[in-house]
């Protein structure tokens, strides 16, 4: 029995390594090709920097990049928490009241269609330079996916389940807590994953206009034509996005395990 468990845990580690390899190998091949192309002057270093130059910049400019990363990470994580909380509250209200849904949903959709880059200068006027604008921009960018997915999730309960609750004269509160919210969790986490990436993008856009964080590092390095530093900052912002999406994924795994198909491994699927 214990041998079995050991073997299965070894197998899982090997599978994880294999998965990591599948991600890293194409990246390393691409970096190698780029390095070669720039060194051989097939591509100008003013168009694309050498990957080794980006790596050197990550080390040389680490103090500035680390400060920027901290600010962006703080603003985008906080924004994700704020937008997810507000969007969930709004979705709950809209799911309970037809009137609220009809009144609020068109504005939410309209708000989503406004390009964040066009809105960012207004955010600077309203919230001032630096962190508040980055935060507001990230909130605006990441708000809608959670709202839309939570609304879809709250409506996703199967009609037979709703009938079962109606048969037992369940209150609206019982229906919400015991049926609609649990049924909506997979949808909410799917929306949160999208929002996690958008929060970082929204934050960088806000920092471009309002200053601070990796956004202003990118903007400043771009004007100084330090492409290696631009790419170093872009790499860090992408890594931050990956990290946030990973955190949401872990939360999803923790919340949906063991019942949801997304949290089951292939072997246990029936």
């Amino acid at each position: 029995m214990s041998d079995h468990v050991l073997n299965s845990s070894k197998l899982n580690s090997l599978k994880r390594l294999e998965g990591l390899g599948r991600v890293l190998v194409p990246f390393l091949i691409l970096c190698g090709a780029l390095e070669l192309a720039v060194r051989m002057e097939w591509i100008s270093p003013f168009v694309l920097p050498r990957p080794t130059a980006v790596l050197l910049s990550l080390v040389a400019d680490r103090a500035e990049l680390w400060t920027g990363l901290r600010e962006t990470a703080l603003a985008s994580s906080l924004a994700l928490v704020v937008s997810a909380s507000v969007a969930l509250m709004m979705a709950l209200v809209m799911s309970q009241s037809r009137w609220a849904r009809q009144a609020l949903l068109p504005y939410a959709v309209f708000f989503q269609t406004v390009p964040i880059i066009a809105l960012a200068p207004m955010l600077v006027i309203w919230f001032g330079f630096g962190f508040p604008t980055a935060l507001a921009s990230a909130v605006v960018a990441s708000f809608f996916p959670v709202l839309a997915s939570a609304l879809a999730g709250l409506d996703s309960a199967e009609s037979a389940w709703v009938d079962l609750f109606r048969l037992h004269r369940a209150s609206s509160w019982q229906e919400l807590v015991k049926l609609r919210l649990p049924a909506s969790l997979p949808y909410i986490f799917a929306g949160l994953r999208v929002s996690a990436g958008l929060a970082v993008i929204g934050c960088i856009v806000g920092e471009f206009i309002g200053g601070g964080g990796l956004g202003s590092v990118i903007d400043a390095a771009r004007t100084q034509q330090k492409l290696d530093k631009v790419f170093a900052a872009v790499f860090l912002s992408s890594a931050l996005g990956f990290l946030l999406i990973g955190v949401v994924g872990q939360l999803a795994k923790w919340s949906l395990s063991p019942w949801h198909v997304s949290t089951r491994d292939q072997a246990s699927r029936t």
Binding site: A160, D163, L164, L167, K178, A183, W259, R269
Partner: protein, 267 residues
């Protein structure tokens, strides 16, 4: 205690489709009734009216348990319809939670119901870990846990294999004999209706009318041996011939009123 069911002059329509025009039906407390009929004739709507999930446009639907008590009604759907995020025990406990039963009793009652359906070992499993037959057993346990006065079943065994279906039919019959609640069982299968129920009702196409209403002549206690007995085969034959007679009579009446074909009724 079991429920007396009475439908008086019931009419129900969905948009342009008339499901029932003027339906009257009475079912005595403690009966086991099978309702058959062609697809889409309104069998499920009949169950939903009795469950209070639909209201009649005209007429009256009464589920009476006397003494001003509120009838306890349970419903078993075509598929098990278990909540995937709840364990087997939690799924069976759900109706009790919704009915406001003391939380200390809920778990014990749900456990007892699961033991009765032979799933005492699967309490902590999740629906995705169960076979189709086991899921339906959980669904039965969920329906029985509240000790219903009226148990409504909408083709619950249609998707199961023969062995599982026969076992569940025997179990359902045994639960009914033990509890004597009123059972209304919708099915497409004439053999299932004959084996399970003590009264068989056949509905016509929309607007549904009662084509046949008969009482079974099979013994009350039924086991698998009955399925291969001449008594059972004779009962099925009789049910078929009575149905044929009812269909022909309905065809004659309808032709007299302006055209109706037998193959339209049961294509």
């Amino acid at each position: 205690m079991s429920a007396r069911v009475k439908l008086t002059d019931v009419a129900k329509r969905f948009r342009d489709s008339i499901i029932f025009d003027d339906l009257d039906l009475q079912i005595d407390p403690g009966s086991f009734v099978a309702v058959m009929g062609p697809s889409g004739c309104g069998k499920s709507t009949l169950l939903r009216l009795l469950a209070g999930l639909e209201m009649p446009d005209v007429g009256r639907v009464q589920v009476d348990v006397g003494a001003q008590a509120r009838p306890r009604i349970s419903f078993v759907f075509q598929e098990a319809q278990l909540l995937p995020w709840r364990s087997v025990l939690q799924n069976v406990a759900l109706p009790l939670e919704l009915d406001g039963v003391d939380s200390r009793e809920v778990s014990a009652l749900a456990r007892d119901a699961l033991i009765r359906v032979g799933l005492g070992e699967a309490l902590q499993k999740y629906p995705h870990e169960l076979s189709g037959g086991m899921k339906m057993r959980v669904s039965l346990a969920r329906a029985l846990v509240t000790r219903p006065h009226l148990l409504l079943l909408d083709e619950p065994f249609a998707a199961l294999d023969d062995v599982t279906r026969f076992r569940l039919q025997n179990d359902l019959r045994a639960f009914w004999l033990a509890e004597r609640m009123t059972v209304i069982f919708v099915t497409h299968s004439m053999t299932e209706a004959a084996y399970l129920a003590d009264r068989q009702i056949m509905l016509s196409r929309r607007p549904a009318e009662i084509l046949l209403d008969r009482v079974s002549e099979l013994p009350t206690h039924r086991q698998d041996a009955l399925r291969v007995s001449s008594v059972y085969l004779f009962e099925i034959e009789k049910l078929q011939s009575q149905l044929q007679d009812a269909l022909l009579q309905a065809a004659r009446q309808s032709r007299a009123q302006g055209g109706w074909r037998l193959d339209e009724e049961f294509p």
